[in-house]
Amino acid sequence: MLPSSYYLALSAVLFTIGALGVLIRRNPLIMFMSIELMLNAANLAFIAFARDLRTLDGHIFVFIVMTVAAAEVAVGLGIIISIFRQKGDVNVDDLNIMKG
């Protein structure tokens, strides 16, 4: 049985790649997908620890995280579509109406 530190290292790598995607890319859909990548990296850490501690709490957490991610994707993509309808093009750098 592999020690859970292997899975934690992989979770850290995936999380970092997702964070890089959010910071580097300017396309909102790719940024959204990078956020999903980060959520999945956290899920992997939860499952690895659940197996380590022999409890199912980690599985329940992952269940809730998946539900929250689904809800967030639905609302977020709705926002992107409504911005597209109003502005004709989605460029995250131009969405600065709320800037002080």
């Binding site: 890089l20 859909l29 990078s34 999945n40």
Partner: protein, 171 residues
């Protein structure tokens, strides 16, 4: 070189390569497909880690519903071709992000390598039906009933919210 290590190496190469491809894809449709690949690799990881129910949920919900939703939006926004690179307002932030990511990775690797997360192989063996539907369902409905009901309210909010946000304004 146990079987689990071989599986881990193969799956992690696939998962990390797919993740890098998602982040660097020029065509959003390619990015969606690479992310689905990553989710499948993660589902295999969950199977290895005795999380069978979560593995199937991963494929059903994440790869099957959420990514299909992404694909719909890619089609609606007509981003199916290679998107032209948008000029970044702060071009230097790419390199700062890359440097910080390398620093963060090295730090995470150092923390994991110190062995603080290593624990001796647990004395208790894994229960025979550890990640199956019945034990997870029991746990969910006996000990996590309130969060479960709260997430159902959350889903209702998400449904109503996304309809209200994305509908055409009533003229």
């Amino acid at each position: 070189m146990t079987a689990e290590l071989v599986i881990f190496i193969i799956l992690s190469v696939v998962a990390v390569a797919a993740a890098i491809a998602v982040v660097s894809a020029k065509n959003p449709v390619y990015a969606v497909v690479f992310l689905v690949t990553n989710f499948f690799a993660l589902a295999m990881f969950y199977l290895v880690l005795s999380a069978q129910f979560i593995a199937f949920l991963q494929i059903l919900v994440y790869a099957g519903a959420i990514m299909v939703l992404f694909l719909f939006v890619v089609m609606v926004l007509n981003m199916t071709g290679a998107i032209e690179a948008v000029q970044d307002k702060l071009p230097a932030q790419k390199w700062v992000a890359l440097a910080l990511a390398v620093v963060g990775l090295v730090e995470a690797g150092a923390i994991v390598a110190t062995g603080v997360f290593a624990r001796p192989a647990s004395a208790k063996p894994l229960p025979a039906d550890f990640g199956y539907v019945a034990p997870v369902g029991h746990e969910l409905f006996f000990y996590y009933l309130l969060p479960f009901e709260a997430t159902s309210v959350l889903l209702l909010i998400a449904i109503v919210g996304s309809i209200v946000i994305a509908r055409r304004s009533v003229e």
